[in-house]
Structure formats: structure tokens, C-alpha cells
Symmetry: C2
């Protein structure tokens, strides 16, 4: 496959921005093609693809950029179309996970717009269709997510097949899919199971969900897939794992902190959203350990209450803060960040990729939304 | 890849039964492995895989056997493990589609057992978990379907990669996935959109749904995938299309007839299930053409009414029968069957595969459940 010449006269950061733009352009191009495929079946089928296109216009492209640095760290050319397609596939995979996750979590919004099931529900209502708009919205979103999942694989497979290690790349992609679905199931299970009171066990369960539902597919696998596609050997992939495993966990712990303490004006989500959804994060596990039994009971009563008032959210925030749970998680983020950056220093990577990945890691560790 | 010796002393029908058993055995073997993969994440995650294993114990294996005849018709060895895996992948793909389809159609049972979302709902209730059992059931079934869809692709890709035409096989698999999802969307759209009164347009819409939601993935693509994996050339694939396109449509028209007139004792579904679900099949389209306006209004009022009484079902059955809609569809099944069998006679296939496929085609055309 021909490798186009490097974009001229750009710094690393400019180059990263150019790559992010290229991901967006390539995604539009591919989805235009898929829209045509839908239209060939029926014009009425195009909203499935258009919904995906709308959703992937947004997003931080973190997984795409991680795969790009993983690719370059293993000697891949930054402008190679294969890593561009693999990055698009990761963004589509994330979109598929979000579409279904928003049904599971009953989320009304995503990336500043209605979630896909809500958008189809609104389409039903606006058109004055028959039967239950909510059921139609969920049904259409299930199908949209299925299609997006299939397309992510289709795009990934074509990138993998053009690489030097198609089998290894596909195997890792399969592992990622499996882990996310299992992790999401453990997540919804944790929300409904009657929780044990043992803080150590709660911490262990929360860490398992965090790893499989988020850390590995958000950070570990994108970096590893980029590497494997560029022909990284076992040694380099091990180094990648030492960088990405703590970074991925720190990423999700930050997300957990934002889900309880985040500023709605910055995160775009209501304050205390994770509390209303009943997420049993490490923050909650630490609270079991640090708070008095009556305080624990108060936290437990709040978790999963969709009607939780802003005052109750504020009260739980205070408990998690004054009891020290927040500080423990923040400390953990710092420790994980240190471990990740220390591993980065030691990794036998191209220097430019090391600098770029280090900058991205710091952005992830300092994230505010 | 070594090809095991042919099973000794079997007739074609015995051999087909042996293949069907082998599909079941291989599916159990693969799912045992996936169960282990889930257990490595958490023992709590294994119900996802166990649900799939339970569902695929049943089923007629029609898609598996079609792919096997398509494979043999193109010169493939009947005991080659590659077609076994491809057949398993098709069964898993169907299972994935059924799991999500049962959520869309609010079906309580599947293959004589609770549908997956109902089974997870019951698990929630029996365990005395918290929050809404119904939402948990749907959420877990969404994830189970996602996993099953991913596994079907994983198994198919490994079979395709070991074949002489991996790119062609994967492209057809991608087309199949896309079509089913688009077809399912058109199906739910037809249930909610305010229908036009033009019988020709209704017939066209019904035929589009029938093709893409069912006929192509149930019959056309399994036969074609079997062929392409064995290295079938364009000419043979065209012949396959002339056999399978009418056969697939006849298969689904039979299903439509069974959905309204089927004997519950044989189909395992309540009488008139398609009426309660509001399926706008060709049977309904013909009714628009053949019945009086007041009769049409009666049919329209019944469609999609989940509370439809057995008496009302019986009344609609009579209308569809006496007005001639049923006879038109039955005529169409016969004509399509004739076209399919005539194309089979002309196809440049191995004689044994031709006989076997012909027997299967007749079973499909005569199906009673």
C-alpha cells in the first residue's frame, strides 16, 4: 500500500490535530458509502447510518490518537492509510458501545445531542407514528448499535488484512469486543445485585468493571492495536501494557470522579449522574471502608435512585469528600499516572512517539471532562 | 488443513444428519472456550455465554445445511472443518439476530424456552435483585446479542481466512449483516408508520422487508457463502442465486402464512402472533387489494393490537382466507418453488449436492413450522 508523503512543516501537535481531522474526514467518507449501501436497500433505511454519522461527528478521538501513537511507536508511518482506518474502526466501535450503553443507562443525551434511542423516539413522535415511541426508539437504537458494531469490524478487518500481522490484530480486536461486553454486563449486574458490605470485595469488583468495561478498551487495546498493526514485537507490546494498563485505570477513575463531582457546565452531564445510575465505583467501595455504618446506609440509599435531588447529591458528595474516599481515588490516579509515565520513559520507542504519547497521557491524567 | 476421511457407509441423508450433529458438537466446543474466556474475566460474566449456548442447542440448522450444500456444490469436501466452522458462524449469527429481534417483537418465548431477555428478567426476579427486572432483562439481552454477533464474526473470519477466497467470503458476510439490520429496521418502521392504502405499494414494501430481513440471510447468503468458501466462480454463484432467491422468498412467505394460520401445537407460537405484532406481510398487502373497505378497516384495526382475542384472530383468518389473500400467497409459494427447482436442475453442480439441495428445498417449501 503506498504511503503518502508526510504532511509538511507541522509540529507533533499540529500533526496530531491533522490526524484527528483526517479521522473525521475518513469516517464521513466511509459512512457516505454505507449510507449508499442502505439506500440501495431502501431510502427508508438510511437513518440507521445517518444516526451513526451524527454521533461520530463528536468525541475526543482519544482511542484513535492512542492507536496512532502506538503505531508510530512501533515504527509505523504517521500518514499511513492503514492506521487511519484502524483508528476509524476504534471510533466506530466506541460509538456502537455508547449507543447500546445509553439504552442500558437510560441516558437521554450523548455528546450534547439526544442519545440515539431518544432521537428515534423523537422521530416517531414528530412523525405521528403509531404504537409506543419509546419502544420504537429503543428498538431502532439496538439495530443502529448492531450495525455500528458490524461496520467497526468491517473497517478494522480491512486495515488489519493490509498489515503485517492480520491474525494478531484481529485476535486483539476480538479480545477487546469480548471484554467490553462482559464488562458492561458486570456493570449492570453490580447495579442490581444486593451489595456485600466487605470493602475489599467491593473494591475488587469495582476494579474488575473499571478494567474490562473501560480501561482496556479505552486505552490499553487502542495503543496495543496500533502497535501490533505496525508489527510491534512481544517486548514492545509488554512495554505498551506497562504504560497503558495504569493509564487506562487512571482514565476511568477520573471519569468516576467526574461522574460524582464533575461540573455540569464542563462535563455536559447532570451533577451526580453516576449516583442516580447506581454505579458502584471504587469511590463507593472506599466509602464502605471509611464512613460510619449510618453514613454508608445513606450512600446506599442514594445509589440508583433516579429521583435523587440536587440537595441529596450534594450531601453524598460531602460524605465522599469529608470521609476521604475522594482523596483516596485522587491519590490512586496520581500513583497510576506516575507508574504509566515511568514505564513510558523506559519503553524502547521512537522518541517522537514517546513525546507525543507522553503529552496525550498527561492530558488524560488531567482531564476535566 | 487436513481433511478427515468421509464418514463411511452413510447415505446422503445420514450424512446430512451427521453434519447437523457435528455442527452442534462444534458449537458446544467453541462456546465452552468462550465460556472460559468469560470466566477469566469474572465467573459472574459466564451467563452471557451460557445464554447463547442454551439458545443454539435448538434450531433447525437450515442455514448450516444450506451452506454445506453450497460448499459441496462447488466441490468442497463434506467433512472439511472449514465449512463446519462457517456453518456454526451462520447459526451464531442467526442466534444474535433472534436475541435482539425478540426484544423488538416483545417475544416471550423462543425455541420452546423463554427468550433471552425474559430469561434474564426471571433470573433477576428469582435472585431478588434490586431495580427493574424488565430493564435488566432487556439490557442483558442487548449485551448477549452483541457478544453473539461478535462471536459469529470471529468464527466466520477464521473459517474464511482458511479458505481460498477470504476477501470474497468476508465481503458477502458483511453484506449479509448489513442487509439483516436494515431489513429489521424497515420491519419495525412498517409496524409504526401510518400505512398507505395503495396495495401495489404495500406489496412492494412487504417484499422488501421479506427479502432483506429474512430471505437473503436465511437462504441466499448461506448457500452463496458455502459456495464462495469452496471457491465457486461467478457463473456458479449466479446459478446459486437463481435457486436461492425464489427459495428464500418462498421460505419467508411460508413463515408469513404460519404466522397467521399456523397450528400453535406445531409452530410453538400462539395463533395469529404476526397479527398481534402488526406485521405488514404480503398477506396483508393482498388483503388491501381483495377485501372491501370495511373489511380492510377491520384488518387494520386488528394489526398490532397485543390484546387481540382468539375470536378476533379467527375472524381475521377467515377474512384473509375467504377474500383470497391466503390463496394468492400460497400460489406465490408454489410458483417460487417451481422457479427454484427449475434453476436447480440447470445448475452446473456436483450431482450429489444437487440431489441433497433439492431435498432440502422441498422440505423448506413444505414446511409446517
Amino acid at each position: 500500500m503506498p504511503v503518502p508523503p508526510s504532511l509538511p512543516q507541522t509540529t507533533d501537535i499540529d500533526h496530531e490535530s491533522a490526524f484527528v481531522r483526517a479521522v473525521g474526514v475518513r469516517m464521513v467518507e466511509l459512512l457516505d458509502g454505507y449510507r449508499g449501501r442502505a439506500a440501495a436497500i431502501s431510502d427508508s433505511a438510511t437513518p440507521l447510518v445517518e444516526s451513526i454519522a451524527g454521533l461520530v461527528r463528536g468525541g475526543k478521538r482519544m482511542r484513535a490518537v492512542l492507536s496512532w501513537w502506538g503505531w508510530q511507536g512501533a515504527g509505523g508511518h504517521p500518514d499511513d492509510p492503514r492506521i487511519l482506518d484502524a483508528a476509524v474502526a476504534l471510533e466506530l466501535f466506541q460509538a456502537a458501545a455508547l449507543i447500546h450503553d445509553d439504552i442500558l443507562d437510560r441516558s437521554d443525551t450523548r455528546r450534547g445531542a439526544p442519545s440515539i434511542h431518544r432521537a428515534f423516539e423523537a422521530r416517531h413522535q414528530q412523525a405521528g407514528w403509531r404504537q409506543d415511541p419509546c419502544h420504537f426508539g429503543v428498538s431502532a437504537a439496538i439495530l443502529t448499535g448492531d450495525l455500528c458494531l458490524s461496520l467497526s469490524e468491517e473497517v478494522f478487518a480491512s486495515a488489519a488484512d493490509a498489515s503485517t500481522n492480520p491474525a494478531g490484530a484481529r485476535s486483539l480486536f476480538n479480545e477487546m469486543r469480548f471484554e467490553v461486553m462482559a464488562g458492561q454486563y458486570l456493570d449492570i449486574l453490580d447495579e442490581v445485585e444486593v451489595p456485600g458490605q466487605d470493602p475489599a470485595e467491593a473494591l475488587q469488583r469495582a476494579r474488575t468493571v473499571l478494567r474490562f468495561k473501560s480501561a482496556r478498551y479505552s486505552v490499553v487495546h487502542p495503543l496495543g492495536l496500533g502497535g501490533i498493526l505496525a508489527g510491534a514485537d512481544e517486548d514492545l507490546l509488554e512495554h505498551y501494557g506497562r504504560i497503558s494498563a495504569p493509564l487506562g485505570e487512571a482514565f476511568q477513575l477520573q471519569d468516576d470522579l467526574l461522574g460524582v463531582f464533575g461540573d455540569p457546565a464542563v462535563t455536559g452531564k447532570p451533577a451526580g449522574d453516576d449516583l442516580r445510575e447506581g454505579k458502584r465505583t471504587e469511590l463507593v467501595a472506599h466509602a464502605l471502608d471509611l464512613l460510619t455504618p449510618s453514613q454508608v446506609a445513606e450512600v446506599e440509599a442514594a445509589l440508583g435512585d433516579p429521583q435523587l435531588s440536587p440537595e441529596a447529591v450534594s450531601r453524598i458528595q460531602t460524605l465522599l469528600e469529608s470521609g476521604g474516599a475522594r482523596a483516596r481515588v485522587e491519590r490512586e490516579v496520581l500513583d497510576l499516572g506516575d507508574a504509566s509515565l515511568a514505564a513510558l520513559v523506559e519503553a524502547p520507542m521512537d522518541q517522537g512517539a514517546k513525546v507525543g504519547l507522553g503529552q496525550l497521557a498527561r492530558q488524560i491524567l488531567d482531564r476535566k471532562h
